[in-house]
Symmetry: none
Subunit: 245 residues, 2 copies
DNA sequence: CGCTTTTGTTACCGCGTGTTACGTTGGCCT
DNA sequence: AGGCCAACGTAACACGCGGTAACAAAAGCG
């Protein structure tokens, strides 16, 4: 089988990079994330085998996020918390988490739990192992996640590059939400090395421009992929999702 | 029957080559491996009479691997471990291992155990001893493991070279999983002499290209054997296995 | 031994992607 | 209003990865 791909969700940067590094040293691909929208971007953008989710995120609640995610898809989730109180633990399970670990934890134990959960998930003939494919509709356009194809309102097949497709997926996962360049960059970085010290030039601008030139009727006056001056970009189309395939 | 074919699984290169050499001097064919995916590739690619499996692999757990393999097929497995603790021993048995040996071990004793397990396996009228031949179906295509033939969806017989067939088998054993060139190279080396010091150029690229030209409808736009830029290759067809023959 | 077939190597090219540089836009200040 | 300047768009270039043609080496085969 391939390399396990984990998503480490914690709002404390130290804890986050500590964990991602630890997992990377143990042969996993560990991607950092710190908010629900980032989680969703990752889930849409690429395969994620397991989510390690801190219960106490700054302004969001890990348990609620877990419940919401679980209502929608069956990606394995391990909740992490500083509170080992029993009722918390129960809340975690009731909410659909696969396991629950209290801080501070033994790294080896954590690794063992991660493996156990992933193995359990693998045995289940669920989609956790298959690539997640959905079909999106937006403003007449179609993105077919199964074939990774984009069709214009007139039905023409528009070929996007890998990166352009990835960007589109990020946008589709976050419609009507302004995204900063950093947020986009992080979401795109499926290769996601350690939390980077912020140093990417205008790559996102170029990417946006290239995508616009392919999916905007008039790229000079973008309707769907708007720019929020001083902020970032905003996808303004209404998106409908098709989970059938 | 012929010469016994063993698979030596250990993540320590020294131990691995020591063991393979030892067995080779004692009239066996010993193939080195260091990960579950390698094991699976070998099992799919050719006959394996017995697996010598280290419990402590770097990022994988030998016991878990053993359990997983045993759930699927009945290859004899001997677990090897530095921990001779009893509970570990029990865990090994419960998991379906045929024997359990603690490091450091007497080579002669090891050999005796190996022989004993293999003989026991031979008496059992199981399939472990026959060459494992399966038939795979993928996207209309058929690979007949018995005759080593590939048939197109239209029913034409397509002749693949040895290496191309080997690659196809590796892919069939790992569908929907991105494989690096190194992983593929290792899996292909069923001849697997000593662990090589990694120095293969673009042989895999060529091999992939050649296989594509034979089994992809449009080799320029591969559907099944996709390339994962910066990673390696990915076989995206749904594979179904036929164990009858 | 030559000839064929398979397999690996080298070299070249195209494409996707990031960077740089420069022009343009639009907000803000006086 | 006009001017200033940061932010943005994008053309042009640079670079690396992967496809593949052509060649070389190795393995079968008579």
């Amino acid at each position: 089988m391939g390399i396990p791909r984990l998503l480490v969700v914690d709002d404390d940067p130290d804890m986050r990079s500590m964990l991602t590094q630890f997992f990377q040293q143990n042969g996993c691909i560990a991607l950092p994330a710190s908010s629900e929208s980032e989680i969703r971007s990752h889930l849409t953008a690429g395969r994620i085998d397991l989510i390690l989710l801190d219960v106490m995120l700054g302004d969001e609640n890990g348990v609620e996020i877990c419940a919401r995610l679980r209502r929608e898809q069956d990606v394995p989730i391990i909740l992490v918390s500083a509170l080992s109180a029993d009722h918390q633990r129960m809340a975690g399970y009731e909410v659909g988490a696969d396991d629950y670990i209290a801080k501070p934890f033994n790294p080896q134990l954590l690794l063992a739990r991660v493996r156990a959960v992933m193995q359990r998930a693998r045995r289940t003939p669920s989609l956790a192992y298959r690539r997640r494919t959905r079909t999106f509709q937006f403003d007449g356009w179609t993105y077919d996640g199964k074939r990774d194809e984009v069709h214009s309102p007139e039905g023409y097949l528009v070929s996007l590059s890998q990166r352009e497709t990835a960007l589109l997926k990020v946008l589709l996962a976050n419609p009507h939400i302004p995204l900063t360049r950093d947020e986009i960059a992080v979401a795109l970085d499926v290769t996601g090395e350690t939390d980077k010290p912020e140093a990417q030039g205008r790559a996102i601008d170029m990417l946006v421009g290239r995508l616009r030139s392919k999916i905007e009727a008039n790229p000079k006056d973008p309707q769907m992929l708007r720019t929020e001056r001083g902020i970032g970009y905003l996808f303004t189309a209404d998106v409908s999702v098709d989970d059938n395939a």
